[in-house]
């Protein structure tokens, strides 16, 4: 039996009833906290004792050199890390106080509260634009009448509506790269998660498409807590309120973005952001 099915205004650690579409909540939901998170691939430990909070209403960027564990970190949040055979995580990950790794929690429900956008846009090739956006709703058995409306809202929210409103039935893969990625964002938003994880969402896109999505993030962060992994430090500087620097599976420094980029506390952070290594 799943303890998290859908959100209500006031989250309680017990049963969440299926809710009518929540209006713009004042953001007392969507706070993620990590305590002593370790992650393993088989015997090798890739994350060590990470303790961190993601505050609702903000965008947090995670930066660090290749292999530092940033992607693994976000995948532990929505439990996608477990999809890899032999991978496991230990420690505490909570969403508004609820431990997501509690065995009583339905993993499917976790993923409906925490959405994810990937590096390469991946719309479902056999579905049209509108079917893509509503895939999460349809395949999770949402109420028929609502589906189209929520799909449209999600497209508006992702800044894509005007561009696709005349071709909702055309294949999802027929859009440009930047549009496809915004489609994936709309698809993730349609299920109305509290948190949106973005794993290098712009690295496969051209600069203009990248900037559009960055603007979108600025708008979205009031409704969804955003965590964005990025290789591009300037992007982190532009987009995030808080920045996290990781190295070799450990958290090195976390703080307001301006501070990390003008006067970081840790010498390693200084070295990394000024490009002395990485």
């Amino acid at each position: 039996m799943s303890l998290i099915t859908k959100r209500t205004q006031q989250p309680s650690p017990a049963v969440f009833a299926a809710s009518p579409r929540p209006q713009l909540l004042r953001r007392e939901v969507g706070n993620v906290a990590l305590e002593g998170l370790d992650a393993y691939y088989g015997a090798s430990r890739v994350l060590q004792g990470v303790s961190l909070g993601f505050v609702s209403g903000r965008a947090t960027a995670i930066i660090g050199p290749s292999g530092c564990g940033k992607s693994t970190l976000v995948r532990c949040i929505n439990r996608m890390h477990e999809e890899v055979p032999g991978a496991r995580a230990a420690g505490k990950v909570t969403l508004d106080g609820v431990d997501l790794y509690d065995p009583r929690i339905d993993i499917v429900a976790v993923r409906r509260s925490i959405g994810m956008v990937f590096q390469k846009p991946n719309p479902f090739p056999t579905m049209s634009v509108i079917d893509n956006v509503t895939a999460g709703l349809r395949l999770a058995g949402a109420d028929r009448g609502e589906i189209e409306d929520r799909g449209r809202e999600a497209l508006v929210g992702a800044g894509l509506w005007d561009e696709v409103k005349d071709r909702l039935s055309s294949p999802g893969t027929g859009l440009s790269g930047g549009q496809q990625q915004r489609l994936c964002i709309a698809r993730a938003l349609a299920v109305e998660p509290e948190v949106l994880l973005m794993d290098e969402p712009c690295s496969a896109l051209d600069p203009v498409a990248t900037l559009r999505i960055e603007e979108l993030i600025g708008e979205l962060k009031e409704r969804v807590t955003i965590v964005i992994v990025t290789h591009n430090m300037q992007q982190a500087a532009r987009v995030a309120d808080t920045t996290v620097f990781m190295l070799d599976g450990q958290l090195v420094e976390v703080g307001p973005t301006e501070k990390l980029f003008t006067n970081p506390d840790d010498e390693r952070t200084e070295q990394y952001v000024t490009g002395k290594f990485g």
């Binding site: 300037q234 980029f261 003008t262 200084e270």
Partner: protein, 227 residues
């Protein structure tokens, strides 16, 4: 850790050397200015005025290079603070050069008769020497990132300020002769210019603190007297 961005680092170092080199130019100009004042040497004064173009040129060249660096290298953290500080320092250098020019432009006005008050002249020369020392100290403090040395500039500047007040007092008591009063006013202007030069050196000290700590605080100066 492998040496990445070494070209960028080299360029930054070179620009810093250039900016601080501007202080050397200013120091030399100040020295010549004081000599011109002491000997009422109009030709030397004109040389200083003409030579200020070199200081301005240095300012423009390094300024442009720094702007380009900002645009192309996206500096952050210490690099960013350093570049910001250097832009300020350049401005200070340029102002200091202009102050020397101001003094030199006064010389023909007061030069055709022997100075009316030797004491005042000596005060001004002492101010100048102290300011020259200040400039040297500011340069060392910046190059070594020595915050304490930078903060000490304030106390050294107090000496200049005291001498300036002396000059003012002397000028008040110079007497009723119109020529002497005119000469005294001119000397006061010169003193003021030198005092401003010293303040610019203190500003450079403030930039040192900014680069090192990331905090910008005004050291005590004319507008922020000691509590």
């Amino acid at each position: 850790m492998p040496e990445t961005r070494s070209q960028y680092q080299d360029e930054l170092d070179q620009l810093e050397a250039s900016a601080l080199g501007g202080l050397d130019l200013v120091s030399a100009a100040l020295g010549r200015t004081l000599e011109a004042v002491e000997h009422q040497d109009v030709e030397l004064a004109q040389l200083v005025v003409a030579d200020d173009d070199r200081i301005d040129g240095r300012y423009l060249e390094v300024h442009q290079a720094l702007i380009t660096l900002l645009a192309t290298q996206s500096p952050v953290a210490t690099d960013l603070r350093l570049i910001s500080a250097m832009l300020h320092v350049l401005k200070n250098v340029e102002r200091m050069g202009d102050q020397c020019v101001n003094v030199c432009k006064l010389i023909p006005l007061s030069g055709n008769e022997p100075p009316s008050d030797q004491t005042m002249v000596e005060l001004i020369l002492r101010m100048g020497a102290q300011t020259k020392a200040l400039i040297g100290q500011a340069k060392r403090a910046f190059a070594d990132r020595d915050v304490e040395l930078a903060q000490n500039l304030v106390r050294e500047d107090d000496v200049v300020d005291d001498l300036n007040r002396e000059c003012f007092r002397l000028a008040l008591e110079i007497g009723d002769d119109a020529d002497r009063r005119e000469w005294a006013m001119t000397m006061l202007l010169a003193a003021r210019a030198i005092e401003r030069t010293a303040d610019n050196a203190v500003d450079i000290g403030e930039q040192v603190a900014f680069v090192v700590t990331g905090l910008f605080r005004e050291f005590e100066d004319a507008s922020h007297p000691n509590p």
